[in-house]
Symmetry: C2
Subunit: 333 residues, 2 copies
Amino acid sequence: MNTSENDVIARFTAVARSGASGGQLRLGIGDDGALFAPRPGYETIVTCDWFLEGTHFLRNLHPADAIGWKCLVRALSDIAAMGGAPKCFVLSLALPSGYTGEWLSRFLRGLRRAARKFACPLAGGDTTERREILISITALGEVRKGQAILRSGAKPGDAIFVSGVLGEADLGLKLLRRAGPHGTKTDSALRKHLYPEPRLGLGKWLSNRRLASAMMDLSDGLSTDLTRLCRASGIGARMEAAKLPSARLSESAGRSEIKNLDPISLVLNGGDDYELLFTVPQRAVRRIPNLFQGIPLTPIGEITRDRRVMLVTPNSEVRIASGGWDPFRRRSK
Amino acid sequence: MNTSENDVIARFTAVARSGASGGQLRLGIGDDGALFAPRPGYETIVTCDWFLEGTHFLRNLHPADAIGWKCLVRALSDIAAMGGAPKCFVLSLALPSGYTGEWLSRFLRGLRRAARKFACPLAGGDTTERREILISITALGEVRKGQAILRSGAKPGDAIFVSGVLGEADLGLKLLRRAGPHGTKTDSALRKHLYPEPRLGLGKWLSNRRLASAMMDLSDGLSTDLTRLCRASGIGARMEAAKLPSARLSESAGRSEIKNLDPISLVLNGGDDYELLFTVPQRAVRRIPNLFQGIPLTPIGEITRDRRVMLVTPNSEVRIASGGWDPFRRRSK
């Protein structure tokens, strides 16, 4: 192979040019850094995410374009969760030498599609050769000063909402593992796993109208993420099991795949949904629609003064421990 | 080991709090993203860098605190090279499970020391478990609107300057390989390799006084980096070999280590110096001092209309090809 780093950079430059014109991106790839022109009255959101072979995706299972799409969407989901709009991103990419041809083209196609769709151009990066595929993305977003929705603002009595259907992405992963890389991509759970959509419109709407007291995105599973929100706000939560918008309710996946799964466990512990978890003061609850841009918004419980996270079923009330994704804890999942 | 991701995050939060108060960092670690408040009249510099075990450092050779120090300095050097001031950074860190104890403490000590010294607090991050130590840093800086110094501004006739002594960091690496991790750290070449200093004061001074027409940092070796600057500016360069501020001229390293090295090759191809390469219009050359804050500034040649990069010796004039660090090219070095 004769690819040099300069060649790889040149291919990225082409992607950046064909991507969304940020307007505020004054200088993109090719210098020591990018130059971003913030707007007066706005704060800059900064968020970074790993996307690593073996940890977050499998080289031989996940299509390269889905890897390109998803590595950006994960970071954009964090921006959505603060009520912001994405502005640009930088990419650290390490690739095996045999992957700078067709694989890289497909990866860049998925990345470019997400960059265009969500108006978030590639601003720069660092590439190197490596045995494994390693990706780290840092995205910048903007939010009006004082309007970012934090994890720490939930108050006792607030209603807890989630967007979309939970556990679907995890179900999609299970379908993908069964069907392999050449299985159908038309299943909605599989699509959700491979090509999630950041809830940018919803996050911004909640921020502009100041409807949510706290918000975060669901990346590691509801049990883990709600526990984090509760800890940040110094409160607890009561969820009603019957209200959880479970992937089981989705008609997309074949019944046979679902039969052996525990739907509650899927909802509580399934990661990668990139839906929004937010809390709404009681006086504002009636202003939250059932559907926002086609995405269901479901009230699943209430914030409590007691710092525990509880799940209420018709017969029991159990304390929930974080059961979602934690890379530093050994689990069998 | 019982470390969970939340525990690791808590330790980072402690570091961020004890680090420099950014002032403009409105919200740090612990939410979906950080919030940075840009100042009116300034643009934001964004730059990201890999720092990977095996590629950029060796786990058993490089002290953990030097890895912590250097991973941040590499990104800050890019900000220096645009004439900016650092503001905050985010860290993607992957560690083997046995490294979240003493190793992480030492790493964070080096990182915190750099964050404090260069007033660049940790704003957020993503941590995961991995067989190898992987680091990606994205740093944000600020520069007055219109005052960033790009790679693309060099004009024929401009003088070419470099700061500091070149090849010293590469010499330090050679010393380290010989002496091992417990060798002396007092040698200046070794210090330069382990604890480089970003040339932030110099970069900002050149930007504020608008003295440099183009600038970049020397991370991959003079031959590679000058070639990049020339390509970005659409010009060429003539360097005089006798003028290159070679590590050989430094008294720091023992003579025996130097004897077998080609000093010119060390200067041209040795990476990791994090010095500044900049061009100065002839009318401004007399305003460049010999020393800036103790750092020598050396004119090494001139920008030419011809797009080649030439090295002039008393007996010859040879065309220089990029010979520095390129992760996608196989080289024996």
